[in-house]
Symmetry: C2
Subunit: 404 residues, 2 copies
């Protein structure tokens, strides 16, 4: 297995992007990544496009992005794993490089969700749950799914709505410093508590927005990476797991009782095995994390699913502000899905963009003054979920080369 | 780069499959592949699902197929490359094994096209062309696109409609012997010539049908493959290329002048380079081929794009029946897309299924009496196109291990 490094990263402005087409939005990230790597598009041998699709009339996103970005006639394909699509694209590009098939590949994530009218968006996202039993018969959509997790967690561990609000406060605080974020206003607990219920106990400000955006990650094999950059960021472990879409098929009497996602635990354990650490070592091993906070409860579950703390102790991390810069492990200091935005296919790549910047100590200007001091071991983790754990992808980055 | 072998193949009945759901259809191929490899589902480490999707209410095909086939909690994702989706899934699974990430993976292709009413099918397929300029403004759909290729070829090389009919006659002849084919009736040139025009010069019997179906290919690394089977079929080369969706953007004054697909030539050259042969050696190097005959003209162009003969000489191969068993190079002796059927996501895998059976000498019962004698060098080639060359994937199989 060849070692693979990130040699360039790019990121579009997230938000409502009526101003650009899908392929133009893609180029915003790809061009920035090329510049970051000091490469031209001719150097790219393969383009893997993460795009959940279905929002726009464009049926073949990888084709139009390849053409507009100038990678033709190089190979490409589209990859989809619901909201973990970006991480699936990264894992795919990684394996094409690790195998020796190509030396340089781009994992591009891109999504334009605002091209569909709202009822279509709700229908399309709802179908990504369990279509027949839960969506069609019971009307469950994603706020409802995650509300079930929130009530499960409340019942088990005494979670309060104010605790969830604190997670939104943190992520909006960091988004306010991220020039690429969708929401740049800080908010407070009171505002969140007064916002309307979407699905009890989740309120408007517990939910991430719909977003248009793109992110591009250029990967290179060890020998090639060394020629391209003095600051390679290595991919040292990937874990991926799949679960049933049908929440009612998950065993209610498992230890988690809906207060966590089994597939996230499984993906984390796979990835940790690859870097040789135990599950309970995670908070010491990693300097920073990006986790999948599509709803505030999802970030809380991620703390525990990744082993940053014991079951039920996630609330303590929130109350003690341990996931801010300077805390036990800073989480989503780019604003997260919650406030940076969640353009489905681009979200996984956006996490890798943020973590790469952080590991390279290039992210201080976006975060608070304590951000740079947090990078001690040079290791970061991304946690990207599709559905309610239908997919879980965990990616570990390191400044140290994995196989010495 | 680790060598990767096909250790098991499975294939559903192709046709109108109202009798099964998408996940049940997937299991038809997966269960057969597991039986063929003498493995259980617990042995599978990764499931890559090729599914173009959009035809049914099911938004996350890889999730429901993973659950029904019993691979949970193992990782999965969906891959799409238009009508080359099945080959993209294979290339992805191949690289996850070649890299050393997993030892055993399944590339599953599955599609249920009949779940959409016909106008939706036409809309969805049409959008896979160039959406805005050619589909929306000019009403071009795929029979029209390939009709442009046919008239281009006619003008350049003196093609007759009867020549195209002969390709359909061959593929229906072979499908009549394939128990998994959608159409099992032989047809003659007269019937084809009397069928109605869909887009001149292409008639009803020049066009492949819509199809429901699945195919599954189990891949294993060299060490693992040797434990599983005595008859591994190796993947010895893959080529992939992407082209503009916009036919009007392709240079009319290139040597091909619409009589071939540039991306198919590019993908073939990439794959040939990996096995170390020249472009013009192909017809001698390979024993058999499966090519992308979504329309009869597409098969004719494939002969030349793959270098089986010189430009313009494809007609001669047809007239001399050189692509039947016993000829220069037998092509689509499983019936091809034309008569076996074309379930978009499953087509690439179906080609690999057929070629694996042929190389293993297990395909004689489906083909004519000369079929077994055609396997001399133990090498086969699959040519899978998305759109009108938006994607081209070429896969080379061999009985001999690639890296000795």
């Amino acid at each position: 297995m060849r070692d693979v490094a990130i040699v360039g990263v790019g990121h579009s402005l997230f938000g409502n992007r009526y101003d650009v087409r899908l392929d133009e939005l893609a180029w915003e990230a790809v061009s920035e990544a090329l510049k970051d790597a000091n490469l031209t598009v001719k150097d790219i041998e393969l383009l893997i496009v993460g795009c959940a699709g279905g929002w726009s009339a464009e049926a073949l996103p990888a084709v139009v992005c390849s053409e507009y970005c100038g990678t033709l006639p190089k190979g490409s394909m589209r990859v989809e794993a619901a909201c973990a699509t970006g991480s699936a694209a990264l894992a795919t590009a990684y394996n094409f490089v690790a195998s020796g098939y190509v030396d340089i590949a781009i994992a591009l994530g891109v999504e334009k969700m605002y091209e569909s009218p709202t009822p279509v968006q709700i229908e399309l996202i709802g179908r990504a749950g369990n279509y027949f039993w839960e969506f069609e018969n019971f009307g469950l959509t994603f706020p409802g799914y995650y509300a079930l997790h929130a009530t499960g967690y409340m019942w088990k561990h005494g979670l309060k709505e104010e605790d969830l609000a604190e997670i939104a406060v943190k992520n909006h605080y960091y988004a306010s410093m991220n020039p690429k974020a969708q929401f740049k206003k800080q908010i407070n607990v009171e505002t969140i508590m007064q916002s309307r219920y979407i699905a009890w106990p989740l309120k408007l400000f517990d939910c991430c927005p719909l977003t248009d955006g793109s992110a591009a990650i250029i990967l290179a094999s060890e020998d090639t990476a060394k020629k391209i950059t003095d600051t390679p960021v290595w991919i040292s472990g990937i874990g991926l797991s799949t679960g049933t879409a049908n929440l009612s098929s998950r065993d209610m009497f498992l230890p988690l009782e809906y207060s966590g996602l089994e597939t996230a635990v499984e993906a984390a354990k796979q990835a940790y095995k690859r870097v040789g650490i135990e599950y309970n070592q995670a908070s010491k091993y990693f300097d920073v994390a990006c986790v999948h906070d599509c709803f505030t409860i999802a970030e809380l579950m991620a703390y525990e699913d990744l082993g940053f703390c014991k079951r039920g102790e996630g609330i303590k991390l929130v109350r003690e502000k341990q996931t801010y810069n300077g805390g036990l492990i800073p989480v989503n200091i780019d604003g997260g899905l919650k406030a940076k935005g969640h353009p489905i296919g681009a979200t996984g790549g956006s996490m890798i963009y943020s973590l790469t910047k952080q590991l390279r100590q290039e992210y201080g200007k976006y975060a608070d003054s304590k951000a740079q001091a947090d990078i001690k071991n040079g290791r970061a983790i991304a946690h990207n979920i599709g559905g309610t754990g239908h997919y879980a992808y965990v990616t570990i980055l390191s400044l140290e080369k994995p196989h010495m």
